[in-house]
């Protein structure tokens, strides 16, 4: 009836920079979505528990530390364990081109690197959530 797209924006791992995550969170809010931001230094367990309790459609992960090859797949794995692989997982931050195919093979649906217009992320979410 009044369903809104709900998105969890999460910062896994140890880097302390969340400017990018906050810019994305704000852009999604302004596009009419309900965005839950959980702050810095979240473990994959915490992220997955939050995603499930908040009943989000999308988990948007942001990493600048280089740990994405371990942490992103851990999140998709845990979601699958909880029977929640229908939740869309997106990645952002400093992710080298070469790593993208591996991450996608692990269930990360899209990677949005530096310089991505926020509208591209919004469009991707709106299209793919509607198709869920």
């Amino acid at each position: 009836m009044n369903r809104k797209i709900r998105v969890l924006v999460a910062k896994p791992g140890l880097d302390g920079h969340d400017r990018g995550a906050k810019v994305v969170a704000r852009a999604l809010r302004d596009a009419g979505m309900e965005v839950i931001y959980t702050g810095l230094r979240q473990s994959p367990d915490q992220i997955v528990q939050a995603a499930i309790q908040e009943d989000v459609d999308v988990v948007a992960l942001s990493i600048l530390s280089g740990a994405h090859m371990t942490l992103f797949p851990r999140v998709t794995e845990l979601l699958a364990e909880k029977g929640a692989s229908d939740i869309l997982v997106l990645g952002g931050g400093v992710i080298p081109e070469d790593d993208v195919p591996f991450l996608k093979s692990k269930g990360v649906r899209a990677i949005f690197g530096p310089g991505t217009p926020t509208q591209a992320t919004i469009d991707f979410i709106e299209t793919n959530v509607a198709a869920r």
């Binding site: 009836m1 009044n2 369903r3 809104k4 797209i5 709900r6 969170a25 704000r26 999604l28 809010r29 302004d30 596009a31 009419g32 979505m33 309900e34 965005v35 839950i36 931001y37 959980t38 702050g39 230094r41 473990s43 367990d45 915490q46 997955v48 528990q49 939050a50 499930i52 309790q53 908040e54 009943d55 909880k82 029977g83 929640a84 959530v129 509607a130 869920r132």
Partner: protein, 366 residues
Amino acid sequence: MTRAEPSSGEIASRILAGDERALARLLSALEDGDAWGVESLKSLRAPTAETPSRPQASSHVIGVTGPPGSGKSTLVDKLISAYRGRGERVGVLAVDPSSPFSGGALLGDRIRMQGSPREGRAADPGLFIRSLASRGRLGGLSRASAAMARALEAAGYGLILVETVGIGQSEVDIARLADTVVLVAMPSAGDDIQTIKAGVMEIGDIFVVNKADREGADRAVRELRSALGLSRSALELRASAVPRSAPEDRPLYAAHPAPAPRSPDDDLAPVLKTTASTGEGVSELVTAIDARRERLIASGEFDARRRRGAMAEARFLLSSLVLEELESLEGGLEEELAGRMVRGEVEAAEAAALLFDSIRKGGKRA
């Protein structure tokens, strides 16, 4: 967007088996106004073989309210730790405002509900936190908050913390949802309590001056105590002058019944000092919350208050039904009346009466 709708019995049994996702989906359904949400909540609350007679009050719903920046989320975080430490299952509903322009919301209360900054709080099966956007409802809550609190209760969360949108001066809805309202204030720079005004003062069952390590905390406590003493004598005066059920006792514009005045034999609401960032004073707050619950149950006020809350909720939903009905009226009566009001031919009160009449006659012109 369509998602598969589970049957109400199935979702209830999954929730009772501890499936967090099923509970989360039910909360969404209630929030979105999906019909299956109401059905599932009913079957979740129905007596089962294990709990043949569900106790009326198996939970304690605590509202945490106060001005923005007073430290509500941090205090909630400390209360979570205290009650989880005792082994109680804790449910949290944290409400933040929706943007009136985009309809979106940025919900950040979880940031401060992660346990201590050093260790963090590991994923905890006894803790369920849900962030809610107010979705256009004023009053510090969202439309379905009460139903969502009942879902958490039925799912076995014994302690339910409801954190409102940072309130200003008149948002008192939480008093109808919560068994106990904790009103959080902080030491202020001025020489009077500007942050807690009449109306909001009356809904507090326990008062907390948070950030008590700041200058002026003791003064804030004194001012709160004296303001409470004054408002109490005003209530007593009113109670003796007017029979309690008299319609004059209700605020003129309130859509809901007014909260009953504090009964005269009640002690004054406690005023405590906390420093949520360090945890100072939190165990005293827990003691006060527990004592309040015992007193409520012993006096029978617990059930009475829940009954009042239930009626207020039904009335609130009734008012939305009336407004929906109004929107489905045909014939442009509203536009016509708007024009006549602007020209000074019809007063607002008359227009309201005409619209109400038209609704009662099933949409035909009065």
